[in-house]
């Protein structure tokens, strides 16, 4: 079962097991993990699911789509050129068994 780990600014950590196919956004919203909103339901148009992916997981991620690229310029917390992604676009599965993200200060 894939796991998603969310690190918060206050040092607390949430680690959840999810069924394959669950996105980083959905896992957080359904799991009640603070700091990720998902206002558009995962359509890459609200930028309220912004996360910073830990460097060691970047290589396994799908490439940025043009839409995600645009949305990442609209995030409430500063964008990190390497690590910022939209949580709704990162789906766990055979290619992403494990992912660790930092939750930004605001969405």
């Amino acid at each position: 079962m894939p796991t998603i780990t969310y690190h918060h600014l206050d040092g607390s950590v949430d680690e959840i097991d999810v069924v394959p196919g669950t996105s980083v956004m959905r896992g957080a919203v359904a799991g009640g993990i603070a700091g990720i909103v998902g206002e558009c339901g995962g359509q890459a148009i609200c930028a309220t699911c912004h996360v910073y992916v830990r460097p060691e997981y970047l290589a396994a991620l799908p490439p940025l789509s043009e839409d995600e690229e645009e949305m990442l310029e609209e995030t409430a917390a500063p964008r990190d050129p390497e690590r910022s992604r939209l949580g709704c676009q990162l789906k766990t599965g055979p290619r992403l068994e494990k992912i660790v993200v930092d939750v930004p200060a605001e969405q």
Partner: protein
């Protein structure tokens, strides 16, 4: 039961839940009671006509609802959630509500976030098995179950929900016919150019559309739908019918309480109803458009969420008028439509980009004033349009039509301060 007078929210949908969250965010510490007629944990509606009806991904799992907030949110935020408990009456003079379970609760402020319901088709056969409308999670689950065995679907109404369903049904390999009384798709909201583009896209995906055609009767066998009959007399065989002919705001409790209602619960720019301690937001409310002052009612997540955020400020002592730029999206097959602004139907269209490329925008003007933009698969244009509207930046039809004009750069310039 709490007896302290706090904030009572009627309706646990997108707006009601956001308000509860934002009230705590703004530092409100009094009681919050959230009533909802639905028994489910509050969930997001947009995916119900999109991902929820889609074909399973490679992992083959069943669709599940996407919560607005998880269960523990209500505990952590100290929000008393009353699932499955509708509010029946309001007594503004006594400042109390009465719920279906008989409880009477006093309020300091009451917020109506009751949303809207689907307009029903009053024609013979509308109650047959296999005839669906789509508003709630229960609706979507029932529709999804039928979709898995359907062969031919008939969609009544070429609006957002009907067309989102049509695209999902095609992905399941179901034959789809859409009946639309008007001469074009999504004609109430979209430019002719964008309507035509979507017509082309749906046609290419195998959706058949009949314009100028309503529905007069639904025929059944053994209690199940077998066909619909169009206003032209044509018989459309179908084992599944989806009705998407618009919604009506849930205003009845406001009306019975003697509050001003029209096409929605009438509120001022602070979202205050005709009673000083009753407020309304989201799909159920008719509010003055910040630009024109005309009463408008919108059905969108943006509107419900942004109104909730603004109202939370007002209710915690910082009166804030609502003036957000409306935006909306719809996802139909591979086409993602995004609309920025409140666009009058007779606005003039200026094309930006090439429709044949599948990614372009229609910018719309009233006289020479920019009113908003419709974009398909073009988030950059959509976001630029939103920024331009947010900041009231000037924009001319000539600039839009010029492919070398740096729209994004322009949208990031600072507004000229008023003299």
């Amino acid at each position: 039961m709490s007896t302290a007078r706090g904030i009572v929210i009627v309706g646990s949908g997108q707006g009601g839940v956001q308000l509860a969250d934002s009230l705590r965010g703004e530092g409100y510490t009094g009681p919050i009671d959230l009533f909802g007629t639905e028994v489910h944990l509050p969930y997001q509606r947009p995916p119900l006509s999109k991902d929820f009806l889609g074909v399973p991904d490679e992992t083959g799992q069943d669709a599940t609802a996407l919560p607005i907030r998880a269960e523990k949110f209500f505990v952590e935020r100290d929000v008393t959630f009353h699932p499955g408990v509708g509010v029946e009456t309001i007594d503004p003079a006594a400042a109390t509500i009465t719920a279906v379970d008989g409880q009477v609760l006093p309020y300091r402020d009451l917020v109506l976030a009751t949303g809207a319901r689907n307009r029903a088709l009053r024609i013979p056969g509308a109650e047959l098995a296999g005839v669906h409308s789509l508003r709630t999670l229960d609706d979507a689950a029932a529709l999804r179950a039928d979709l898995l065995t359907a062969r031919r679907a008939l969609v009544v109404g070429a609006g957002f929900i009907g067309l989102e369903f049509a695209a999902s049904a095609r992905a399941h390999g179901v034959e789809v016919t859409v009946l639309e009384m008007a001469p074009r798709m999504m004609g109430r909201v979209l430019s002719p150019e964008m309507s035509d583009h979507f017509h082309g896209q749906h046609t290419a995906a195998g959706v058949r559309t009949v314009f100028g055609e309503g529905i007069t009767e639904i025929l059944g066998e053994d209690g199940r739908v077998v066909a619909g009959v169009g206003s032209s007399g044509t018989r459309y065989p179908a084992d599944l019918v989806v009705v998407g002919v618009g919604v009506l705001p849930n205003i009845e409790i406001a009306q019975q309480a003697g509050l001003a209602v029209g096409n929605g619960i009438v509120v001022d720019e602070y979202l205050r109803s005709s009673d000083p301690h009753v407020w309304a937001l989201g799909d159920c409310c008719a509010y003055p458009d910040a630009r024109t002052g005309a009463l408008i009612r919108l059905e969108s997540v943006q509107n419900a969420v942004d109104q909730a955020k603004i109202l939370a400020r007002t209710l915690t002592g910082t009166p804030t008028p609502y003036a957000a730029t409306p935006w909306f999206w719809s996802h139909q097959g591979g086409n993602r439509l995004q609309i920025a602004g409140l666009i009058p139907t007779d606005a003039r269209s200026v094309l930006r980009g090439d429709p044949a490329s599948g990614s372009f925008s229609v910018f719309r003007f009233v006289g020479d004033d920019f009113a908003g933009a419709e974009s398909v698969n073009n988030a950059a244009d959509h976001l630029a349009a939103r920024r331009i509207l947010d900041r009231s930046l000037p924009l001319t039809p000539e600039q839009v039509a010029d492919p070398t004009f740096d729209l994004k750069g322009h949208s990031r310039t600072s507004p000229v301060p008023a003299a």
